[in-house]
């Protein structure tokens, strides 16, 4: 079966992508009832005993959040019990998977774990899946699509393991206290509300908390362990703006573009990621906002120390935080009343009344590949190896008034602009501008933007011209063929399938 982007998708029970907004406009929000716990005595000695008590058996679906990112120990703890008990056909649904989760590979190979739902994966597990080792299809949702899938019952979770840095015995908890404090816990909230069984795993059990993000009324069990992870592992990308001259040029041109398009104004809202180029864009935006005495309304997403600093300078009234990207952001979240948590549904669920992504004026995003229809790949490399995933990419692109992709035109001798991307993560109809070191392409459907840049000094080119410039330097690379073996699907935020993942050839 083909979807509207002419990508082949599996026939068995998947909905084809029809356009960025068609299904959302046509459908109503579906919500299964929230699952409130009736347990009173919740403390248990170990994760292991709960496998007997619940019980956790072959074929179940277990979920996890990724707020401890590459410092998370909880998924591996549960993996160890699955291995010990030799459970089979387990589905796991972590909101993201990192290199630290390498122990999963053995369980995938031995078919203890046969299915995975996630929003982002890199490292050994991603490599194993890319090589076709997962028995069933990998399902990759976006950060906004995941809570939609959970609340609608599409992703039915038997047991949610919630790593919580500080908890009381009733399961009330937060991410701001304890040795593993990682900040906001926004990705866990849908699991907490809708999973059939919920287990808080904590390493800091207290009598009482003055701030509650995880509501104990939903929690069935609390297990105290020595440590849930290494909070230093939450650091995402780099914490300083790039000094690379090419990326700095891209960042400066991006900020100039945004200014020339008239988006730097009082009340503006803004999102960008971690990583050197993203932070360099934020740095340039900061300069321009300070020069013009601009006060924005909010910055959102994963929050970095850089955005915290901008808020402290008065450049934004509020920060909306779904996860903290560094420990300075955790500290700010703890002490600053205008540093506000948002759960992943409020962040990007397309069926929320007014998700934060829809309130965004500007979002700056990256790309592994982008094609001449402005479709963006942030899921695989050009060989089809899984190296990431949407996260909030497709959610923010769909919601923001101005979506800007920043990328080097050429990386490691390969052009980033393609005729067709290997994998579509974000549809081109939601992407407005592509900024490279050799020119800026604006999506022709944004006639309004093209009109505004007419008399500026910006180097505006078409996306086809960018492709030609790249090919003049690199030559035209041969297409890399993948195998015909489907290994996964990329779900768009509305639940439809935007693209299919194939096993890498030769693996």
């Amino acid at each position: 079966m083909k979807n509207s982007l002419n990508r082949t998708i599996p026939n068995n029970g998947f909905l084809p992508y029809m356009g960025a907004f068609e299904r959302i406009k046509a459908n109503q929000r579906l919500c299964i009832p929230e699952v409130v716990s009736t347990n009173v005595d919740k403390l248990r000695q170990s994760i292991d005993v709960l496998f007997d008590e619940i019980p956790i058996v072959n074929g179940m679906t277990l979920s996890f959040h990724h707020h401890l990112r590459n410092g998370d120990y909880v998924l591996n703890m549960v993996t160890e019990v699955i291995k010990k008990r030799n459970l089979k056909n387990i589905t796991i649904a972590p909101s993201a998977i990192f290199p630290i989760h390498a122990p999963l590979v053995e369980l995938i190979e031995k078919e203890n774990i046969t299915k995975i739902y996630t929003n982002y994966m890199n490292g050994p597990v991603a490599d194993a899946v890319s090589k076709g080792k997962l028995k069933e299809l990998l399902v990759m949702d976006s950060h906004g699509g995941r809570p939609r899938a959970i609340e609608s019952g599409e992703l039915s979770i038997d047991v949610a393991f919630i790593a919580v840095p500080a908890s009381d015995a009733f399961g009330n908890g937060n991410g701001i206290y304890g040795k593993s404090a990682c900040g906001a816990l926004g990705y866990a909230i849908a699991d907490v509300k809708y999973a059939k069984n919920k287990i808080v795993i904590t390493d800091y059990l207290v009598d009482k908390l003055d701030y509650i993000e995880i509501d104990g009324k939903y929690i069935d069990y609390v297990v105290k362990v020595d440590t849930i992870g290494d909070a230093k592992g939450i650091i995402s990308g780099t914490t300083k703006p790039t000094k690379d001259p090419v990326q700095l040029k891209i960042a400066k041109d991006t900020a100039k573009l945004i200014e020339d398009l008239g988006y730097i104004k009082d009340g503006m809202s803004f999102q960008t990621g971690a990583g050197g180029t993203s932070l360099a864009v934020a740095e340039e935006m900061k300069k321009r906002m300070l020069n013009k005495h601009i006060k924005g309304s909010f910055a959102s997403g994963g929050i970095t120390s850089f955005l915290v600093e901008m808020q402290h300078l008065g450049l934004f009234e509020r920060l909306y935080d779904v996860q903290c990207f560094d420990l300075e952001a955790v500290e700010s979240y703890k002490s600053n009343p205008n540093h506000i948590p948002m759960n992943s549904s409020k962040y990007g669920n397309p069926y929320e009344v007014d998700p934060i992504v829809n309130q965004l004026d500007i979002v700056i995003l990256g790309a592994t590949e982008i094609d001449t229809s402005f479709n963006v790949n942030v899921t695989t490399d050009s060989h089809g190896r899984i190296i990431g995933g949407s996260g909030g990419h497709s959610d923010t692109a769909a919601g923001a008034k101005l979506t800007v992709i920043t990328t080097n035109l050429i990386k490691s001798r390969m052009p980033i602009i393609k005729r067709n991307v290997t994998t579509i993560t974000t549809p081109g109809e939601t992407v407005d501008c592509v900024v490279t070191e050799r020119g800026i392409a604006i999506n022709p459907k944004r006639v309004d933007l093209l009109e505004k840049v007419k008399n500026t000094s910006l180097n505006i080119v078409t996306i086809d011209e960018l492709l030609e410039i790249a090919h003049n330097i690199t030559g035209v690379p041969n297409d890399i063929k993948s195998s015909d073996n489907m290994i996964g699907v990329i779900k768009y935020r509305d639940g439809s399938v935007i693209d299919t993942l194939y096993q890498m050839k030769g693996d």
């Binding site: 000094k243 001259p245 090419v246 700095l248 040029k249 400066k252 050429i410 070191e437 000094s457 330097i473």
Partner: protein
């Protein structure tokens, strides 16, 4: 007319690939100090391939060759001189070297049937170059003088300082001879590539002495240098006002006239013309 001249090592494919994206007025492809002796031939071949493949459009292409009394200087010229380049930068320049270079370039131009005359920028980095500035600045093909303060300091046996007192005479005298012979006075690079504030101060000081351009050793320096050596909007507006008043005075047959209460004479008109020309060239 130049403001910024960016040094790029000729043995780095990644840097060559992006040489033209930073808005430098000129790129100096370096075959001398940036390239180890063991890589001279490889750098020369790579640069030649690059120049034949890439179009640098309006950006001036300058090649810093090895000195012509080294074993590499003439090989550099034989390989690299073509219609793809504009200018040869000659290190440790002397009047004798410039004479030899001129003769040799003439031969190459004839042999290769070039469609252009290659220009020369001597680097003033020896005390002997300073005392021979008149001959150097007036030598054939020379259209700019680059002060090389690091080597000059070594020659003078002085320590290079942030303030640059030790090179103040050299800066001034380079400006004097450059202006006397209507060629570019190009200031020495600022070597602390991480200190933008220091770069601004250094460039502004050089500009105040009369330098009209500055060499850059990192792409991140170009924006500052272009800004400092471009006319300000205020100066451009004033120059336009002077030229309008001048045209009006011409129509009315007046010899003397004033702008904003100040008398305008020929040097002010000439300066206004040059400033407007620069502003047009650089899109101020």
């Amino acid at each position: 007319m130049r403001r910024s001249l960016l040094f790029i090592p000729s043995n780095s494919p990644a840097m060559l690939q992006n040489a033209d994206i930073f808005a430098a007025d000129a790129i100096i492809f370096d075959l001398e100090d940036a390239v180890a002796i063991t890589e001279k031939d490889a750098a020369r071949i790579l640069l030649d391939q690059y120049l034949n493949k890439f179009s640098l459009n309006q950006t001036e292409v300058i090649i810093r060759i090895n000195s012509i009394d080294s074993e590499f200087g003439f090989d550099d010229l034989n390989k690299i001189v073509s219609d793809q380049i504009d200018t040869i930068m000659l290190p440790k320049a002397s009047k004798e070297d410039l004479y030899i270079l001129n003769e040799y370039l003439t031969k190459i131009e004839l042999n290769k049937l070039l469609n252009k005359k290659i220009q020369v920028i001597p680097i003033i980095e020896l005390a002997s170059s300073i005392i021979n500035l008149k001959e150097i600045a007036s030598a054939p093909r020379v259209n700019g003088l680059l002060l090389g303060a690091e080597d000059l300091s070594t020659d003078l046996e002085v320590v290079r300082t942030e303030q640059g007192i030790e090179i103040q005479y050299a800066r001034s005298v380079v400006v004097m001879y450059a202006k006397a012979f209507k060629i570019d006075a190009i200031d020495t690079p600022y070597i602390n590539t991480k200190d933008e504030v220091g770069l601004v101060k250094d460039a502004q000081f050089a500009s105040s002495l009369g330098m009209n351009a500055k060499a850059c050793i990192h792409p991140n320096q170009i924006e500052v240098v272009n800004t400092v050596f471009s006319p300000s909007l205020k100066d451009v507006d004033h120059a336009k006002k002077v030229m309008m008043a001048y045209e009006q005075a011409q129509k009315e047959g007046k010899g003397a006239f004033s702008v904003d209460g100040k008398m305008v004479d020929k040097p002010i008109i000439e300066r206004a013309k040059l400033l407007i020309k620069k502003a047009e060239k650089w899109g101020v």
